[in-house]
Symmetry: C2
């Protein structure tokens, strides 16, 4: 079987493109070293290989189902959870006094990347738990932390986020789940939640749902939404488990992919009272949730990258081994067949995958490094970092979700009929990843977030910071060999972005919000490709610097990086123009389309 992840590329991204080692100069990471990070990453790879990759297909073929009221998963999942827990990954990024290693977030993302690539479905359980715990660490009372956070950090309890309802998916403002004060500071929760991943299983002693609900009498819209801790089993004061909390499994969703993660419809307050505790202040639930959501969105982007990456590696291995046909210039039909990797169109399909998944990985890790800068970087500049991260988040979420799907389609295409069968993993990755443009905010929502909020936030400062950073990298790469193509294409794309954003922002008032946002998707595409072009400039610069001293495999690795950067410059960045022109024109075609004309 092909490896699910390139350790070499992960090292390159962390230490040659990003300067992850320099984080050890910050007080929080003073006891770390590159060796510590490498040991952690090796442990992650080994656990992922042994306990996660071993049941990926089995879980796909045997989706979660209910037996005697219990959700049954394939047995490998429980073993994987134990191995993940034993390795300490539930808390590795937390402070030492919470039992953690104080790992930087970028290293933690690289750790998680191993599990996402090995088995996306089983990774869902711990990652949801980690996200849930991150939120509780931020907003819980000390009492709540003792009761709920501690067992989550140990990996004894698992967590979920329960936002959507059957009638309210993207439109969270319309949720109707209610919370009625019980007089003792707790609330009685009543309602139905939809699409809850990890909502019911027997993998952990308890499940802690973070539930959005309305306290009786709260105002309409998002300002009336509060956040509640709702455990599957009630928790006694001493932390022991009490009786069932009447969170009832109403059904499982049957999905095209991502089958390893059970996805549920849950009724709260069915057959008895469901008791919840308010998190933080009433009416601020959506804001708290978005603290978790922004991390979740980077996580979705990284998950998409790793599915695409695993598919790329699988199709690459196949392309090296499969013999078929001859070069177009070959004259002798009885001459030997060549590996299909020799065919230009197969090289195109492989280069395209490489450009998408390695570009996406660079982006996901770059965004994660911004999370570290926000937490531990110099005070000065943190506001700029925050605005840049805010601006990039919709791109980090949606670009890999879309372009890993393209890459996975290419992986299938490289493998032909074989890729279309269950004998190889690429068709599964293709089904799995199709969820990523949907959950944690659809592509449409990301576009509106980018154009409607992020590019105008703080007077457009986020975009200014981004442009400054891109120009700084262009400047720093002057004179490096082999970068002319990517430098020129990126420079052009940046100018097209500047013009297009200038044009549409200048007309925002005149257009009104509906027409202003009508082509938000083009903004997402335009800026997304440009940002990934920037990621390729950064990778190409690192490769060009290292190439003169490299021999053998190392030389090939760096030449591949330069060629993929060239590919992105020649085949992909020219697509920015059409999106820029469309955005700038404020074209009203979709806005003017009428429902009864379809």
């Amino acid at each position: 079987m092909a490896p699910f992840l390139s350790k070499r590329d992960l090292q390159f991204q962390l230490y040659e493109v990003l300067d992850t080692e320099s984080l050890t100069a910050r007080p929080r990471h003073a006891e770390h070293s590159r060796e510590v990070y490498d040991d952690v990453l090796n442990l992650a790879y080994n656990v992922a290989e042994k306990y996660f990759a071993n049941h990926t297909r089995e879980a796909d073929l045997n989706e979660p189902h209910v037996v005697d009221g219990q959700v049954k998963l394939v047995p490998g999942v429980a073993a994987a959870m134990k191995a993940f827990r034993d390795a300490g990954f539930f808390s590795a990024h937390h402070d030492e006094d919470l039992g953690g290693l104080q790992l930087p977030w970028v290293v933690m993302q690289a750790v998680q990347a191993n599990f996402q690539a090995a088995n996306m479905g089983s990774s869902g359980y711990p990652f949801l738990t980690i996200g849930n715990a991150n939120l509780q660490r931020e907003f819980d009372t000390e009492e709540q932390k003792r009761k709920y956070l501690a067992p989550l950090l140990e990996g004894r309890w698992f967590g979920t986020m329960a936002l959507s309802e059957p009638h309210a998916g993207s439109g969270l403002a319309d949720i109707t789940t209610s919370a009625t004060p019980r007089g003792d500071g707790t609330y009685s929760i009543q309602g139905t939640k939809m699409w809850i991943s990890g909502g019911e299983h027997e993998l952990s002693e308890n499940i802690v749902h973070l539930v959005l609900a309305r306290i009786k009498g709260a105002p309409a819209g998002v300002k009336g939404i509060s956040l509640f801790i709702v455990p599957r089993y009630r928790v006694n004061e001493d932390g022991s488990l009490g009786e069932k909390n009447n969170v009832v499994l109403a059904g499982l969703n049957h999905k095209m992919g991502y089958r390893g993660t059970t996805n549920t419809l849950l009724n709260f307050g069915e057959g008895g009272e469901t008791v919840g505790e308010l998190v933080g202040e009433a009416g601020r639930g959506l804001g708290y949730m978005f603290h978790m959501m922004n991390e979740a969105r980077i996580g979705v982007g990284m998950g998409a990258v790793m599915l695409g990456y695993a598919g790329y590696l699988a199709s690459l291995e196949y392309a090296r081994e499969r013999l078929q046909g001859r070069h177009a210039s070959a004259k002798d039909p009885s001459g030997p067949m060549v590996s299909i990797i020799e065919h230009a169109d197969v090289k195109r399909l492989l280069l395209r995958q490489k450009a998408f998944v390695e570009g996406g990985l660079a982006l996901g890790l770059y965004a994660s490094s911004l999370v570290d800068d926000l937490a531990t970087g110099p005070e000065e500049g943190r506001e700029d970092t925050r605005l840049l991260l805010d601006l990039l988040t919709p791109i980090v979420k949606s670009w890999p979700s879309k372009y890993s799907q393209e890459a996975l389609s290419d992986a299938i295409q490289v493998m032909g009929g074989a890729g279309y069968t269950r004998d190889y993993p690429v068709e599964m990755y293709y089904r799995d990843n199709r969820l990523n443009p949907i959950h944690e905010g659809t592509e449409g929502i990301q576009g509106n977030d980018l154009l409607g909020r992020k590019v105008t936030q703080a007077g457009g400062r986020g975009l200014t910071v981004l442009l400054e950073r891109m120009h700084a990298d262009l400047k720093a790469s002057e004179g490096l060999e082999g970068l002319d193509g990517i430098r020129a294409a990126l420079t052009t794309a940046i100018a097209q972005n500047r013009d297009a954003f200038g044009a549409i922002l200048g007309r925002a008032a005149e257009l009104g919000p509906d027409l202003y946002l009508a082509n938000a998707n083009s903004a997402l595409e335009m800026l997304g490709h440009t940002v990934v072009g920037w990621m390729w400039l950064r990778q190409a610069a690192a490769a060009a610097r290292a190439l003169p001293g490299a021999r053998g495999d190392a030389e090939g690795f760096y030449r591949g990086k330069l060629q993929a950067a060239r590919f992105f410059a020649v085949y992909e960045l020219p697509k920015v123009r059409a999106h820029a022109e469309l955005l700038a024109s404020a074209d009203p075609t979709t806005h003017e389309m009428q429902g009864d004309w379809f």
Copy 2:
């Protein structure tokens, strides 16, 4: 459930865009009328709805499997085959003396479209049989026609095409299945065939495989390949069935989609002799097969269109019914939710689907009308028609295969999490259609066919004919209202095609075949989008002519056509430029990439 096909659009395409009714002026169709065609199409819709659409999902969930050596299918398939047979569709396009109705091919394709949209998997069996019979009608001896063709036309026996082998998929030149003369004019067939759709089942009394094989001593390469009729059961002189012919099922392929059509690995000559009859002359097998293959490629394109179309209709129905969110301009969070079809980004996703699937349908039917022109049109101009059809075939095959997949992704996206579940059909269509860019010649092969063969054939006459026809339609549409956008965008795209083909063809000798073909995919994309832009001009012109007299639903229908044409002009045709520039530059990035740089 949403309808699987728009009868209204099919009528528009046949009678308002194409002038199908005028075919009744040709001697072969003199006894036909529009009423005859409409009756046939209504029959097709009714049979498709009642006997095909009823088990599409069931067949997806219960893929073919082997029980006691027999391939088991869900029971609905056999009933569907009987209904198809009873309706006379196995032979409807054949001459009356073969039991047919002499239906034009374009009407036959419209008939088949109903079945493809209703149930792609079950449609596979009759359509493979029809393709097989078309080949035998062309090349069989009278004796072979009596023995093999007659029962195929009755639908009592089914047919397959058996080309690929485990080591030879796209590279048919390397097949090794052998044919040894038995001294009585027949041959002993020995070898293994892979990816044989409909290769084994109990739906018909016999299965007639058309098998590519090498007669002992034949030269290497394609010139040594002959074609053989190889029945599952041997056939006695009186047409009755003899003993089993030792065609042995070696396995079933387990696919991501298209599960209704069983797909097999077959061993010929296992456990006894497999006897076959030579078709036509030895060494011309691949040429005969391509007679069938070209029809098959149009069929694949049409199948892709109809899957995309069915998905579009399903997501359209959902978008009309599903309430979520409010307009960006809405101020009151407690105001009523709107149907998601009101949101601009959902309208974009629906318009994009509409542009792709209705554009694809126009293309598939146009190509089918060329098949009619070749068969029954004026003698003068047939060579031009043949060259045009040859040129368009790789586009008709690959463009809808690719862009219906985009459309189906959009259909899932419109429906969000619901679209990702098996509660709706779009995830199934998405899995089904992903095969279409692979089988009957991959997208890579279509690109090489287009740039390597079709644009240079007969001194480039096919391209000249295409350009003439596009210019004629541009001229004919002058002055029509609402066409400015599509006319301007198409004119630009045509000029870009002309420049790019001129540049690359002018350098062909200098570049050599490998580098000349390195960007063949861009040629396919560039010309494909341009041709579909032309199809939208033709639809828009028909709509603009009809609009002044239209009221109510009819008015909405024509306005929708004009808006979709505008969408294609604004959102899609500008993408031609990047492909044209890449092709013209003969960029060597993929050509120069080395296997060990990945």
